[in-house]
């Protein structure tokens, strides 16, 4: 076959064919990822892939920037939450001495409700989340969304009105930990769900995974603090029941609906796969025990397959966290923004 003849023919009807390739240079980078079997025999297939990339219909699958901007929204949600509770006016801090560091009297009183190690842990989490916002903004550059206003959010869950389910979130340490765990567990599922759409850019993928696992470390610590209590300096010495009120550091089943089941159950429940989801990828609830499906093979029910080990049933769900899709995460996140704010749709 003559690759050049084909291009030449296309050029007659589409003079911009080469610009299409040039503007989509990633097409060619992407081709190397096709891996092992690429030989001359596979060339027709490869060329099909090139032209699909150059001419393919616009897919509704999120782009790398879409995923990063969605992650950025979630990081704002988290960072503003910790900032408002612990230190500053909510806005993102950009480094030592850069402002947003004043501690209000209300924050001072609130901080006193935590043990020293717990307060230190919360400050570490707060720092990480602010750093994540700054990192994602820098990775996105001019493609980053505008920073949402702190006033767009309502962490009482009241959507801007009175009587939200988390009223007192910045005065009641246990409630603060409950909301924090909910945000972090949501973040873990969200990053996991976004990863497939970053696979075309390996460096971005790695960076996102490096945020993902930090969110999981946060979630683990917050769960540890919740079962030990806000004033406990050795929370890790307290055993968890694997329930909503006394969670383990990992997710047991659906965790009884999470920290505040009436609001948080969706964080541990099943999502729903948007049409653009790659074949095989699903968004089951956290109590899922069937793992390893691909586009061509069904998953394996591990609880059944490994019955001979006589492990507790809970272990099979605990051993795997589950991803969540963008629409479901958005619906969860909307719990914490005011009515009329379109940040999460």
């Amino acid at each position: 076959m003559n690759f050049f003849q084909i291009l030449s023919e296309i050029e007659k009807t589409d003079p911009e064919v080469f610009e299409r390739f040039d503007s989509r240079r990633r097409v060619f980078q992407h081709m190397t990822g096709f891996g092992k079997k690429m030989t001359a025999a596979a060339l027709p297939l490869a060329m099909g892939a090139i032209f699909n990339k150059a001419y393919g219909q616009t897919s509704s699958a999120p782009s790398v920037n879409d995923v990063l901007n969605f992650a950025l929204k979630l990081e704002y949600l988290e960072a503003y939450f910790y900032n408002l509770g612990l230190q500053g006016d909510g806005t993102i801090f950009t480094g030592a001495g850069s402002g947003n560091t004043a501690i209000t009297p209300a924050q001072t009183a609130f901080r006193a409700g935590f043990s020293a190690t717990n307060l230190s842990s919360l400050n570490k989490i707060r720092t990480d989340e602010n750093n994540h916002v700054n990192f994602l903004r820098s990775a996105l550059g001019t493609n980053a969304i505008a920073a949402p206003a702190v006033s767009d959010f309502d962490f009482t869950g009241g959507k801007g009105g009175a009587g939200g389910p988390f009223t007192g979130v910045f005065t009641n340490p246990a409630l603060f930990l409950a909301v924090a765990q909910s945000l972090e567990d949501t973040g873990v599922r969200a990053y996991k769900g976004g990863a497939p759409y970053l696979a075309s850019n390996k460096d971005v993928l790695t960076a996102a995974l490096n945020i993902h696992s930090v969110e999981a470390r946060h979630a683990s610590r917050l769960r540890t603090m919740r079962r030990g209590g806000a004033t406990n300096n050795q929370a890790s010495a307290t055993a968890g029941a694997g329930t909503s009120a006394s969670p383990k550091s990992w997710i047991t089943g659906q965790d009884g609906g999470g920290a505040s089941p009436a609001q948080t159950a969706p964080i541990y429940a099943a999502g729903s796969a948007p049409a653009y989801t790659p074949a095989g990828i699903t968004f089951p609830a956290e109590d899922n025990v069937t793992q390893g499906a691909t586009d061509t093979k069904p998953g394996v029910n591990l609880q059944t397959a490994l019955a001979s080990f006589n492990f507790p049933a809970s272990a099979f769900s605990e051993a795997f966290d589950e991803p969540l899709d963008v629409p479901t995460v958005s619906a969860i996140a909307k719990t914490f923004v005011k009515t009329g704010v379109t940040l999460f749709g």
């Binding site: 690759f3 050049f4 030449s8 080469f18 390739f21 040039d22 240079r25 060619f28 992407h30 081709m31 190397t32 990822g33 891996g35 092992k36 690429m38 001359a40 190690t117 570490k124 720092t127 602010n130 750093n131 994540h132 990192f135 990053y191 996991k192 696979a199 075309s200 993928l205 790695t206 960076a207 995974l209 490096n210 945020i211 993902h212 696992s213 930090v214 999981a216 470390r217 946060h218 683990s220 610590r221 300096n233 050795q234 890790s236 010495a237 055993a239 550091s249 990992w250 095989g280 990828i281 793992q291 390893g292 691909t294 586009d295 394996v300 490994l306 492990f311 272990a315 051993a319 991803p323």
Partner: protein, 259 residues
Amino acid sequence: MSNIKHNASDDAEFAKPLYTPIKRRSFFMYAGATAGATALLLSGCDDDNDGGNPIPGMVNVGAGSVGVLNYAYALEQLEAGFYTTLRSGAYYMGLAAGSAEKQIMDDLYYHEVIHREFFKAALGRDAATAKITDDLKPDFSGIDFGIRVSTAGAAKLGVLNAAKAFEDLGVSAYNGAARYLSADVAGLNYLVAAGKIVSVEARHAALIRDLISEGSFVDSDVVTTGTNGLEISKTPTEVATMANNFLMAGSKLNVSGLV
């Protein structure tokens, strides 16, 4: 590259236009098309079999998606072996029934054995002939299973020190290896599967660190706390260097295919 047999005539046919004089064709045509041709040739140069350079006496995990799965399987074998071994050690045997630490050690044992069996099943199903041995031989001689946490300067690691090392290593390994999964749909599914496991490993790591030193769950040895707040992922080569300290001769990992 070792055992690729290029078909000479295919190569000649394929390359021929590159040698013909440029006539009316635009520069862009060549710039774009040769980039494509180069990409195809480069990818064709990968080892078609298991990938990596075979090293006698080492376990070659291979390349691409199968290489990553084998790599994860090896690390999970190591972790599961550790949590299995500790159950007969004095530290674990002395844990009070119903204590937090007993519960945690039991859960970690369950989870890591399940992870190991998961990869064993996935590889057996999708790449049976390329699967590494199910019987990697660990070397835990550097761990004192009677000691909870070792004192500074001790010759051997305490159980929690070793657990911390394995869990942190696992997280950094998964994060650093995801980029070597192939870009096909199966590779995306493996990516999600690895993601389901790595966040559980991170939850483990955070709690083990807290057991050793409360509130050390995101310290600067594992997270870039001063800058971006990112996990410090490790390349397969970096991970293998550490993991091989806990594997017997003959079971040490060769990850040269994951580059």
